[in-house]
Symmetry: C2
Subunit: 545 residues, 2 copies
């Protein structure tokens, strides 16, 4: 039975006929307790979803849907270490990475000894770096650390490093290099001293094309600058599940940190993939981040659906996507330090749930992951918010802010927050024709001018949003926040009946790129390619030299 | 008559029944000349749209639609300086900003004398800064320039400055500050020397909340550091249509540069709003950028629709949005230096055409601007491309790359381009069941394993995209590229019958923010606000102190 043929789905379909068409203005007017019943707090986080186009009844029906989809059972199977990523035959145990103690998931299959040992080794290395005791060329202390990784080996630590930059080590530079474009790596190298630079190469297989290109170029740069005296082991660390390949590349065995097949790249921030982050913020803050995530894990595992943050957030997304027909979800942080958060969520959500076959391989006839997009909210107001307010498209928005500023200046934070709250209110409640008319009449315009302007100045409102407020950006609250979104994605995958943990969709492009690359150099080889690729290659060859 | 009731619209509707359902694989197989007929070149740019779900016939029908929408007449009215932004009673003359000579738009109403005089003053000031002759505190030369502006006063120069960073002045720092969050300005101030820093305050009205907050904080910082000896005029320049307000703020009259009501913020890169960019790249390169844009203007104005880049690009967007039902458009630059280009386009497209009433004020019953989103393409491959390949959603993509690298390293560029071309090919052509089966059989799997994996490894393909290749990132090609997108937006607005040049949708949020801000400080005032805002304010007050 697919989820769309359950009684709960049918109940939601008919419920949509009524509440789905109500205006948020009326929903607020008709229920004075609306905000209390449609908001949750947890661990310094307020999640206000009262401006979603739903009622408590909707939430109850959605919770029934989650029960019919057996979400709790799926959750328990994940925590029990079952191989729920069946297309790859793997367990899904990123929750182990933030546990304080074992055995976990069980005494038969206990991953905690290696998790805790790795954490210890990471902390030891990070402290050595932070205290200037990690030595580069001829005994000079390392001053810059460059993380080379892409996708999950980049976005998580980079996002969190930016979010916690107020805690960054004052004297160590930590940099992130991901893509093939030399315009990322080359300008960075110009600013670095090869004698005091260490690269962390992060790749599960140690074969990722982008990462190996950049790692090889980094090694060439060291060789070119340090010559025969280069001791490669002093300038590289690695995170990989293939340690022998890292050693062969030139990394000291002591500086290869493991990653396991039960951690997906986009869930790996908490593992050794977070090493560069730990170097920046220190092992203590890193540990606080793990504790925040662990608290969210417990909340997720033990709280009834209607008060369970990840479950509620997931169900709101399903309501918007599958019942109200939204195709996108906009993420709008009102905090400069969260500027990479939309990109991080793009991967987490779209790579996990951008699928159109069920876990059992049947084609789905309902929508899955929306397109996640967004920008810093305050900037967005002066850019694309026009479309949110008057574009006529349904775009559910997630507003995210931290109350306390991480870099305070007088009065800025109060004004920033007032903008954040104002936008969600304006989107929800709008401004109708009679309100606009009243305001235009005050501007002493002629009746004709008023009539002409009126339709352009009406705001339909009823654009749904949630607001997530953190008391401040600190390792614990951010750990909680990211774990919250991870579990949200898990719940949605469980309801949609898909495998959130594989990513076969990334394979074809890699295979095609491997066919095209030799044809860049060898025009004869292009003849086997499609006509468009041939044309693009012809144009390129003309301009490459 | 609305556009949907024209014969051309009806013809496209019925045409969609056939070609809209064809697979790109078949479209390529059935026409060996497809790439020639569905690609254009102009001024070092190749625009290949052969992987859009259309044929030459589609293009012909779309061109008819543009004729029925009287796009040429609209274009001529814009170039003639008519007040086509009727809701604000303004002409739309950003094209004047890149003209080499006047009179323009006509001898009666000629804006060129002030345009050329402003260009001259900008160049003179930029050269003074670049040669170290612009003096800050006690005769020390200015070394850092901070542009304070938001939206159109930030995104354009910042995007272009990044795109042309290989040309940046080696000894002058140019920085961009936009939003209210002190976490943007405060960390920057920590790195600057107040004695040698100059701020350019960019605001048409000189009242923009974010910009004035940041400008005031900058002035306080100068005062706090330089004390009574501060000469404000040595540390500020301004771009505004209200010069008296800038002078009152403390800017020397000689350093206030004008902006005019016939230039919209999102089209203002070419005006004095681009001053910080000119400081970075120099007046000569800035001028080359204007020449590139002017060449595109001429191409746009004089080329038949079927070979006219902006028109074709606009019509493809209309085909995807209004006939194939796409709700978004993904912009995927394969170039680190173009990393702000998606954000720039978000404003340009969504603020211009995110409207749901016609220019005459009638409610529209068809879609207008899609949601524009995107990231650096190579990073996206390892993040959200899963959804593009297998998510089952129609997402038209714009791939953008420059053939020659602006920061070359051996072999990187060839690999980068091969990835760019591979992704669009994989999206278009996919990999069907029998191809997957053949490939799995080579992996020596059991029949059951093959059957289980097969559906997860099929790629439906038929995801449409265009690829835009520039020979290199240079001022001319980038000027052309931006002008191309500006005119694309214009053509779409003309076909949709909307005013692309107002932005009433940004007003309500500002008004609401002004009501909320005092209530942050004064709980009594919150009682007049909606219940959700009250709750958010209560939580905030607890954590603000």
């Amino acid at each position: 039975m697919t989820i769309t043929s359950t009684p709960a789905w049918a109940a939601l379909e008919s419920h949509r006929q009524s509440v789905g068409k109500s205006h948020l203005k009326d929903l607020f007017a008709s229920d004075p307790n609306r905000v209390e019943s449609l908001s949750l707090t947890f661990d310094g986080i307020l999640y206000d979803f009262s401006k979603q186009r739903m009622t408590s009844e909707t939430l109850g029906l959605l919770a029934s849907l989650a029960r019919e989809a057996r979400v709790s059972e799926s959750t328990e199977r994940m925590f029990a270490g079952e191989r729920i990523n069946i297309s790859e035959g793997r367990s899904v145990l990123h929750v182990a990475l933030r546990r304080s103690a074992g055995p976990f998931p069980g005494s038969q299959f206990d991953v905690m000894p290696e998790v805790i040992e790795t954490r210890r080794r990471m902390a030891e290395f990070a402290e050595r770096l932070r205290s200037g005791k990690c030595l580069g060329h001829k005994g000079m202390p390392i001053r810059d650390v460059v993380n080379i990784g892409i996708g999950g080996s980049d976005l998580g630590p980079k996002m969190m490093g930016q979010a916690l930059r107020s805690l960054s080590h004052p004297a160590l530079g930590v940099h992130y290099i991901s893509n093939l474009d030399a315009a990322q790596l080359a300008p960075l190298l110009q600013t670095l001293d090869p004698r005091t630079t260490l690269f962390i190469v992060v790749s599960k297989t140690f074969t990722t094309q982008e990462t190996m290109f950049n790692a090889n170029t980094a090694r060439e740069w060291l060789r070119a600058n340090l010559g025969d005296e280069l001791v490669s082991e002093n300038h590289f660390a690695a995170v990989s599940s293939k340690p022998e390949r890292a050693v062969e590349f030139g990394v000291s065995k002591d500086l290869v940190f493991p990653i396991w097949d039960w951690v997906g790249g986009r869930y790996s921030l908490w593992s050794a993939v977070g090493l560069a982050l730990m170097v920046a913020i220190g092992p203590h803050a890193f540990d606080e981040m793990l504790r925040g995530a662990e608290r969210m894990d417990e909340h997720f595992r033990t709280t009834p659906f209607e008060r369970n943050l990840p479950v509620v957030m997931a169900l709101i997304g399903i309501w918007n996507t599958n019942f109200l027909g939204a195709t996108t979800n906009s993420v709008l942080p009102y905090n400069e330090s969260l500027k990479y958060f939309p990109s991080f969520l793009q991967q987490l959500e779209m790579e996990s749930n951008g699928k159109s076959v069920s876990i059992g391989g049947e084609a789905l006839d309902y929508a899955t992951s929306p397109i996640v997009w967004g920008e810093l909210g305050n900037n967005g107001q002066h850019a694309f918010f026009q479309l949110l307010h008057q574009g006529g498209r349904l775009v559910p928005c997630d507003f995210i802010a931290a109350v306390r500023s991480d870099f305070p200046l007088p009065k800025h934070q109060e004004a920033l927050l007032s903008n954040c709250f104002a936008q969600s209110a304006a989107l929800a409640f709008g401004r109708n024709e009679s309100e606009v008319r009243a305001s235009l009449e005050k501007e002493s315009l002629s009746p004709k001018e008023i009539a002409d302007l009126l339709p352009h100045r009406v705001f339909a409102g009823n654009q749904p949003s949630s607001t997530m407020l953190l008391s401040s950006l600190n390792p614990g609250s951010l750990g909680s926040l990211v774990a919250l979104y991870e579990h949200k994605v898990f719940v949605q995958g469980a309801v949609w009946g898909i495998n959130s943990f594989d990513q076969w969709g990334v394979e074809l492009g890699k295979a095609v790129a491997n066919r095209i690359l030799p044809a860049v150099y060898e025009p004869e080889l292009a003849k086997m390619l499609d006509a468009s690729t041939q044309g693009l290659l012809n144009f390129s060859r003309k301009h490459l030299k």
